[in-house]
Symmetry: C2
């Protein structure tokens, strides 16, 4: 029995898994903003609640998926975005309190690995994962192994340039994929439609403030056939396909799995539009044999992936 | 003793190597356009001449670097560009004639591997190779191994989109890296400077015909301080850096090695301009520890790499 934990900026989720990655018990909470002590005691509470929900089995390892870059050796998050946790040797602290080994993993890598062992990517050996959300996360599985790069930061595909003279990105570069294909990119364009009244649904939801533009609202505005919304979403899907094509030409993968809240809420038509763009843009010979699938495990992906990676890491 | 062979569209080159990858004998010829029989008899002739030049040692394996995608299993070139060789099971034919095993490799992969075992990339484990020429070739070494993708086509980084609304590329896509950072991209802009007389050196060389724009001529026009030429070259270097930044963000590599005739002729200032652009564009945390080096083996890179890969392939 292993436990997987997904520590996000807004919520945290724990799950107990058996040897076949079946979820036996779960627990969750909203992530507090009070700093190291609060967040760590929340993690302990949610972890213990999940173990109790699974009937108090013996746990051999815990994997915890965290946002941003990590130092695997130190078991520490390096630059936690949207998470009030500073310089905490998280793995060490949790191990002391819980009594079993704890392994950190980047949340995008954990989510992709979950899809690989138990979701859409099962059975493939060369897989690229793309997760459009506030930014765009990426993960890489080559020859059946997670590829992390020289310091664990490989897969920042949200920051490849697709418009060399494009908009300023949060990373300091211009025209990154994130600036045109993320939920934030969509929100920025929709805010104008909300402000100028072209989309009543968005206006009613106060979407001129881009913080109000959640994936569910975008889906609702699309369904209402608000003028302009379809065009904005279609344009983001087109750009997402350009990023996917870059991955096809670079990695020659078997599968691109696309996940995250945006894809879950906008559904098949969004993914199909991105795939169409990808197939028009990638080299024909390379893209021919590439499958595109939606991620299938949703919130459980990172939980399952983190638990599985922790188990493997301790077995090796 | 192994023999490495670089089969190009304009010339072919063979070299005999000892166990430490020292070149003991070489031979070369201009590649003929007469079709399978002529090209194959040329390959045999040049191979035998190189063996003779090395003092007729016993050869255990031959690696042959060829342009374009290959079928490693069939030992066959799939879509040979600029090479009149159709549906030839090259490895099999050469083995029959020469009496030792022959292994095919894509020429960009072979060249990068040569730099890895005997040139600029020695001692690194995560290396991206970029070779701007008529197009832009790319090669990938991860954890000390050549990464080929699901069917041997990984590394087509000349065809990642950097200008989503850019020029039509030969591959059918728009705004590929090749359309703005290759020798062909430079030639296209310089042809205008030749035609309108802004560059006397280019005009005198008949460079309004882009086939006349070789790397050496670009270097000569730069040295003559022809107005406009520096700007065109600088712009290509800037775009090359954008492509390099995409590789940094995607792979988190230790080293980017840049080679090919353009870099050899334009020298350090061109590479420095590309590196400056790369460092401005890539994510700061990722690019900090990345080295950029010029390839050091020139024409010998693919010969050495092909021989070394053939030796390893037969040993495993």
């Amino acid at each position: 029995m292993r436990i997987g934990f997904d520590l996000g900026g807004t919520k945290m989720l724990a799950g107990v898994l058996d040897g076949e990655n079946n979820l036996l018990g779960r627990s969750k909470a909203k992530t507090g903003g009070g700093g190291n002590d609060e967040v760590i005691s929340q993690i302990l509470e949610v972890t213990r609640a999940a173990i109790a929900a699974a009937g108090n089995p013996e746990i051999t390892a815990m994997g915890i998926a965290v946002p941003g870059p990590i130092d695997i050796g130190l078991g520490m998050i390096l630059e936690p975005p949207n998470l009030n946790l500073r310089n905490a040797p998280l793995a060490k602290i949790l191990k002391q309190e819980l009594g079993f080994p704890v392994v950190l993993e980047n949340d995008v890598n954990a989510g992709l690995w979950g899809e690989y062992v138990a979701g859409s990517a099962r059975g493939y050996q060369h897989v690229i994962g793309i997760f459009p959300g506030t930014g765009i996360g990426g993960g890489i599985i080559l020859e059946g192994r997670l590829f992390r790069g020289k310091m664990g930061s490989a897969g920042e595909i949200g920051h490849i340039t697709v418009q060399s003279d494009g908009r300023l990105c949060g990373c300091g570069n211009f025209g990154c994929l994130e600036t045109v294909a993320s939920k934030t990119a969509i929100a920025r364009d929709l805010a104008v439609l909300a402000m100028n009244g072209r989309s009543p649904v968005l206006a009613a939801a106060g979407a001129s403030d881009i913080r109000m533009v959640k994936s569910g609202l975008i889906a609702k505005a699309l369904k209402a056939k608000d003028p302009g919304v379809a065009e904005v979403v279609q344009r983001a899907a087109m750009f997402l396909g350009i990023g996917m094509a870059a991955m096809v030409n670079t990695f020659d993968p078997e599968l691109i799995v696309v996940g995250g809240g945006l894809v879950e809420k906008l559904g098949d038509s969004f993914l199909k539009a991105a795939e169409t763009s990808m197939r028009a843009r990638a080299m024909p010979r390379l893209v021919e044999g590439v499958a595109v699938k939606a991620a299938s495990l949703s919130d459980n992906a990172a939980v399952i992936g983190a638990a599985d990676l922790a188990g493997r890491s301790l077995a090796s």
